[in-house]
């Protein structure tokens, strides 16, 4: 299954829950089980990628003459 890159974490988790529930049913054909499993593996990879994402855009958003400008800031000390 081609994974939609824009799929939200929330939607991913919801679909994953659906797959797990389907796989726990007794009347699933082998083809179906394998294809569900394969979809599930993609979803897990997608969700983990969203969690591991290290974009780390942190800053102050300013506006000058209608133009937005992000002034990067260092992450705060915890």
């Amino acid at each position: 299954m081609a994974m939609d890159e824009k799929l939200s974490f929330e939607a991913g988790i919801e679909r994953l829950e659906g797959i797990v529930e389907a796989l726990e049913q007794r009347d699933v054909s082998l083809e179906n089980a394998l294809s569900l499993f394969q979809d599930g593996v993609s979803l897990i990879q997608h969700c983990n990628a969203l969690l591991d994402k290290a974009e780390q855009v942190m800053g102050v958003l300013l506006e000058e003459d209608g133009e937005l400008r992000l002034e990067r800031a260092l992450p705060v000390e915890g």
């Binding site: 994953l16 797990v20 089980a33 897990i44 990879q45 855009v57």
Partner: protein
């Protein structure tokens, strides 16, 4: 004929007339307190409201008085909300106070109440308008003062819950005259910036005047118009502002807003791991079920005619195994050892495992499978295939037993 009232009938009629007139019910009156008495043990307040010309008796029952956040005294200018009724025992018309504010702030409260009522009427606070806060935001937008403690609190909480979470601050004055305009601009600016999917709008606690920007119509409308869901975070828990009513979610403090906006990274990881384990277990169970099915067949047929089983079953098994094999190859990318799990399953489905149960295959010199002793001569070379290894054999005697073959 002229009607003659009893005193109580007339008093009752006067009271009804007062109560039927909406101008006298739930009305606001400003005046100076005099003759203030805090009656004990009842806890009711009795006082007179007066101005230069007139005076009116007033009472505030304990259940309402406990909610007043200051101590009224004689000589104080106040704003009172209440109902006008006749106290029939004395024949006095009294104001039964529901709410009381000191005069200066009273105006603010009045404005607050009026705006709240108007925006409620417009449906701005309606539940169905509220947008959902995402479980895992991509970037958190924050509208607050960069010099306040609120921002520091928010950023600390974000970092603690999700160390790599992205955030963007739109600086805005949160008190004083410029505050409403700057807060509105901040909300709009963050709405124009890419990737932000939740907003925190707020400031730390303060007096009613200090929180005032969050009670203005322009801020309320900017929050309502925000494409991005807004979490309000104004002051401490007791202060509810118009911004709180219109926001998609209300947090009691800026720190609480950060907790509502940003999930615990660890918690989400555990959730994914849990689903992954359940999914693997689900597939294992599926394979076990399918295997049971196959084995039930395999155990029946070979007892009657082992080679029929091997030949016919072999094709099914090969087919089955290669489908599994293909699928498994597609999972190679997965790093979590799912493949190992699958390899164990696959082995049980192999035709070799039939041999593993003690069956063997016999081939003639041409490599053809032997299904019958008919045509096999004494001294012929045959090959026996076992689960492990093979045997080169010489036939000592070919014997055909049983009725199905006859005396060849």
């Amino acid at each position: 004929m002229t009607h003659i009232w009893t005193v109580s009938e007339l008093a009752g009629e006067i009271d009804r007339t007062l109560q039927d007139n909406f101008l006298f019910q739930n009305c606001w009156v400003s005046g100076e307190i005099s003759n203030f008495k805090h009656h004990l043990p009842s806890g009711h307040w009795y006082f007179t409201l007066k101005d230069d010309v007139s005076s009116l008796r007033a009472v505030m029952f304990r259940s309402r008085a406990v909610r007043v956040r200051f101590e009224p005294r004689s000589g104080m200018q106040v704003l009172v909300r209440g109902n006008v009724k006749l106290y029939d025992r004395d024949g006095n018309i009294q104001v039964y106070a529901e709410e009381m504010q000191p005069a200066g702030l009273g105006a603010l409260y009045l404005a607050f109440e009026q705006l709240k009522e108007r925006l409620t009427g417009e449906g701005l606070f309606a539940e169905e308008r509220k947008k959902k806060i995402p479980l895992l935001p991509q970037r958190v937008g924050i509208v607050t003062s960069t010099s306040g403690a609120a921002l520091r609190d928010i950023l600390q909480i974000i970092k603690r819950r999700h160390p790599r979470m992205s955030w963007v601050v739109a600086p805005a004055a949160v008190q004083g005259e410029a505050a409403p305009r700057e807060i509105v601009e901040g909300i709009r600016r963050l709405n124009r910036f890419e990737g932000i999917d939740v907003l925190i709008v707020g400031r730390g606690g303060g007096s009613l005047e200090e929180l005032w920007a969050f009670n203005t119509e322009e801020v309320a409308r900017a929050i309502a118009a925000s494409r991005i869901p807004v979490i309000s975070a104004v002051g401490h828990e007791t202060d509810i502002t118009i911004a709180d009513y219109v926001a998609d979610l209300r947090a009691p403090t800026p720190s609480a807003a950060a907790e509502l906006a940003v999930p615990l990274l660890q918690g989400l990881k555990e959730r994914v791991d849990y689903l992954e384990k359940r999914m693997q277990r689900g597939l294992s169970t599926q394979l076990a079920w399918k295997r049971q099915l196959l084995e039930r067949l395999a155990l029946k047929a070979p007892l009657r005619d082992p080679f029929w089983r091997v030949e016919r079953g072999r094709q099914e098994l090969d087919d089955f195994a290669s489908r599994l094999q293909n699928s498994m190859t597609r999972f190679m990318t997965d790093k979590n050892g799912i493949l190992k799990l699958m390899a164990a399953k696959l082995d049980l489905l192999s035709p070799l495992s039939v041999l593993g149960r003690g069956y063997s295959l016999t081939y003639d010199q041409n490599g053809q499978i032997l299904r019958s002793a008919v045509g096999v001569k004494s001294g012929a070379q045959v090959q026996v295939r076992l689960a492990a290894g093979r045997l080169e054999c010489q036939v000592v005697k070919a014997e055909i037993r049983g009725d199905n073959i006859g005396n060849g």
